[in-house]
């Protein structure tokens, strides 16, 4: 019954919002690089701040790469709803007949695709720079793939709560960081176990469970938070 859009990238509200957000993100291609450049720069702080010795760096690498990926993901979470809030399209989503949590899920997926995924694919470069042993690379990518997705999900709740607050970015990190900690614990430990030669599948499974759990809880929490933010 709804009209055929010009681009036949699948109809339906979910894919429409997903495609829309991808287009908006790709239109500001420069901004997409920011989390990656941040990720790379923070990695260079470690040897400068701690020591260039590869033996020292190897000890730190799994945990540091994960901490930096977490911070880079946190940095990009604020923009999830901000532009929609400013141009009024967020209000249109809230009063649309479609289930709001579904539209939020589409936005988070698009956001992950342009921030979390690039971070995951970029991480091996940091692995090389921080002398991460070879055994850790595969687990690093696997853990970051699931981990950044879980972080984007959890971050969407914080973004929804702070979208109407001027300069809400710092408040956003204060709110979501405690909720990021379990993801960091299992993500970093998985890579450490792989580096130590143990099998990290158990830890990765728990990380997957955390991701699945956040998929179930956060879209609804974020949808509720968006309605509240529009009242504010």
């Amino acid at each position: 019954m709804s009209t055929e859009g010009d681009a036949s990238l699948g109809s339906g509200p979910f894919s429409a919002i997903f495609v829309r957000d991808l287009r908006v993100a790709l239109r500001h291609r420069g901004e997409l690089a920011n989390p990656l450049v941040f990720f790379l720069m923070v990695a260079t702080l470690v040897p400068l701040g701690i020591s260039p010795e590869s033996s020292v760096l190897t000890l730190l690498a799994p945990g540091m790469i994960w901490v930096m990926a977490l911070l880079a993901s946190l940095l990009s979470t604020e923009s999830l709803f901000l532009s929609d809030f400013r141009d009024g399209s967020l209000e249109q989503l809230v009063i649309s007949p479609q289930p709001l949590w579904l539209l939020v899920l589409a936005k988070v997926l698009a956001h992950w695709l342009v921030t979390g995924l690039p971070l995951t694919l970029f991480a091996p470069l940091l692995g090389v720079m921080l002398a991460l042993p070879a055994e850790g690379f595969v687990t690093l990518i696997a853990s970051l793939a699931m981990g950044t997705a879980a972080l984007s999900m959890i971050g969407s709740v914080g973004a929804a709560l702070t979208v109407a607050i001027p300069r809400g970015g710092l408040l956003l990190s204060l709110i979501v960081m405690p909720l990021y900690m379990p993801v960091l614990i299992f993500g970093a430990t998985a890579v450490q176990q792989a580096v130590d030669g143990f099998s990290a599948s158990g830890t990765l499974a728990i990380l997957g469970a955390l991701f699945a759990f956040s998929c179930m809880v956060t879209p609804f929490a974020a949808a509720g938070a968006l309605r509240i933010s529009l009242h504010g």
Partner: protein, 209 residues
Amino acid sequence: MNPAPLLECKDIAFERDDLPLFSGVSLQLLPGQAIQVKGANGVGKTTLLRILSTSLQASAGVVLWKGEPLSRRLSEFRADSLYIGHASGVKLALSPAQNLHWFFQVFPGNGVTIPDALRRVGLEGFEDVPCNTLSAGQLRRVALARLYASAATLWILDEPLTSIDVDGIGVMAQLMSNHLAAGNGILMTSHQPLPLDNLHFLELERYVH
């Protein structure tokens, strides 16, 4: 026996942090009728429209949609109503066509295609130009293009004619009267006078604290 009202409000009140904005607002919108909410700036016109578009919750009062309490028929009402606020909801990074694409997927349409809708608001040839290069008036028309292609019975328009030029207003007035003639309803605010015949007024000042 006049037909059952499309939208009916009883004693709508709104307060923010215990500071009442207005209370006791009642209105009846019959099919084919338009109601213009009048009042000075800051009296709460936009707040009232946002309440009726379900993006804000009233502190008190009942809203009936086709005789039924709104809270019980929320998604049906949302499919049957169209709200265009000050911020038109148009993504500046995208083109008019891309903007209408996601609007049409999220809100039910009446079969009019995107090129047709854009042509009717005079944006022919601008379908694929990024919106951030368009003028304020053209941006407004992208939002108003939704009116041609929407299946909604109730239009809730917050100053739809801002930055629209003279002949644009004429086209809009024609569009609105056709909409009313088909037995639908319009609820709006506007600083420009509107040449609509079945137009009623709601003086919001009477309900302000």
